[in-house]
């Protein structure tokens, strides 16, 4: 379903990686591993179409993602290392706006439920600016409970989370895969996520 061929990425005049290719099918989970600076985040951004690869192409159902951007993007949820939250809006407002922007109409109750799922329902009406780093991360991740996308691309989702939240998130990811979803993830933590197939992509400088 998602396929990449011969990807190369250049930052400045440094070649981060080249000849990266993989195939990810429904229910599949892919870990992207590598040292700091090996280009994990760049690879994820490249898969989302935020970066243009120096060489190579990413295909979604056999079509290049650039050709078919809107269809691809409606199947994509990306949570990068930036949370994409506005400090002046409440957690609830942030969540509803980002879900609607992704083409996903949600009512207040659904949004509250997803905040409750990751254990921050009591922060729902606080402006995000006053929350701690871990709480902000959880507000961003709450989108995953609203997402109807097939493909999730997550950059270090477990960082800054406490043990309980890590487990809740891992369970949610497992659920996504059992429904035929796909996940591409970078992480430094050992977390058990169940998937129909699991693969590892190692980037080396």
């Amino acid at each position: 379903m998602l396929m990449a061929q011969g990807l190369a990425c250049l930052r400045g005049d440094r070649l981060l990686f080249k000849n990266v290719g993989f195939e990810l099918s429904a229910g599949g989970l892919m870990y992207v591993l590598g040292e700091n600076g090996s280009g994990k985040s760049s690879l994820l951004r490249l898969l989302c179409g935020l970066l243009t690869p120096e060489e190579g192409t990413v295909f979604w159902h056999g079509q290049a993602i650039k050709q078919n951007a809107e269809i691809y993007q409606s199947n994509l949820t990306y949570i990068g290392h930036l949370n994409g939250l506005k400090d002046d809006l409440t957690a609830l407002e942030n969540l509803q706006i980002s879900a609607r922007l992704a083409g996903n109409e949600v009512n207040q109750e659904e949004a509250l439920n997803s905040l409750a799922a990751i254990g921050i329902a009591r922060c729902a009406n606080l402006p995000v600016g006053v929350l701690s780093q871990g709480q902000k991360r959880r507000v961003a991740l709450a989108r995953l409970w609203l997402s109807r996308s097939k493909l999730w691309v997550l950059d270090e989702p477990f960082a800054a989370l406490d043990t309980a939240s890590v487990e809740v998130l891992a369970a949610r990811l497992s659920e996504h895969m059992s429904n035929g979803g796909m996940t591409i993830i970078t992480t430094h933590q050992d977390v058990v996520i169940n998937a129909q197939s699991t693969q590892t992509l190692r980037l080396s400088a």
């Binding site: 990068g80 994409g84 506005k86 809006l89 980002s98 609607r100 922007l101």
Partner: protein, 222 residues
């Protein structure tokens, strides 16, 4: 699905409402700059009313420009811009919503305040009306063109000054037609030609600027 731009518009207006001081800054800037000229030139009504069209238009143009750097900067640094880029909607449409919000928050108050300042400059009533009309037709073009500059300089060091350097030359036609309209009505001539040209500038930038801005955003986020 097509309502995504309304969501962005509402969001930006809500954010501006929560940060009212930012809006006030633009307005105060316009007020102060246009009050400085009489202090530098002298209170003679004849002189003031002859320089009024140019001064008020330049002040409006600068006020719009200083607020431009904020247009995408916050979204860029907190990651919401990335989310807009990968939203399944045409980016140009979302850009248009953001620019519209910027104009409502920074452009419209200036348009509404302008006649008061025009009174300080001893502008006659017809000229005041033309001033408001010309600002109403011209300031959208300023916001639209300015957005291209703001998108190009996103995350670049010294972006505030750089935006001025990039955008001010492109503002010249709007300035000429806008100030010209007011001057024409002061001299008892019809301002219609000027106003039509202003509207044409705004329409042209309405069509082209969001596309250019969207392309610039993709370049800057890479």
């Amino acid at each position: 699905m097509n309502e995504a731009w309304i969501i962005v518009l509402k969001r930006d207006l809500l954010l501006a409402f929560r940060r009212r001081s930012d809006v006030a800054t633009t307005l105060f800037f316009f007020l102060i700059v246009s009050s400085l000229f009489p202090l530098g030139i002298g209170p003679e009504a004849a002189v003031l009313s002859s320089i009024a069209p140019g001064v008020l238009w330049v002040a409006a143009l600068l006020a719009g420009m200083i607020s431009l750097t904020r247009l995408f900067a916050a979204d860029f640094s907190d990651g919401s811009l990335e989310q807009m880029l990968i939203a399944p909607q045409p980016l140009a449409l979302l850009v248009l919503a953001k620019v519209l919000a910027h104009w409502i928050v920074c452009g419209l108050p200036v348009v509404l305040l302008a006649p008061l300042i025009g009174l300080q400059y001893a502008l006659p009533n017809d000229a005041l009306l033309v001033l408001v009309l010309s600002l109403l037709l011209g300031t959208p073009a300023l916001s639209l063109i300015g957005a291209i500059g703001a998108a190009l300089t996103l995350g670049v060091r010294g972006s505030g000054l750089l935006v001025a350097l990039l955008v001010l030359p492109l503002y010249i036609p709007v300035l000429i037609f806008g100030a010209g309209a007011v001057a024409a009505s002061q001299h008892g001539m019809s301002a219609q030609a000027h106003l039509s040209l202003l509207a044409a500038c705004s329409l042209l930038s309405l069509v082209l600027a969001p596309l250019a801005t969207a392309a610039a955003l993709r370049i800057s986020v890479e």
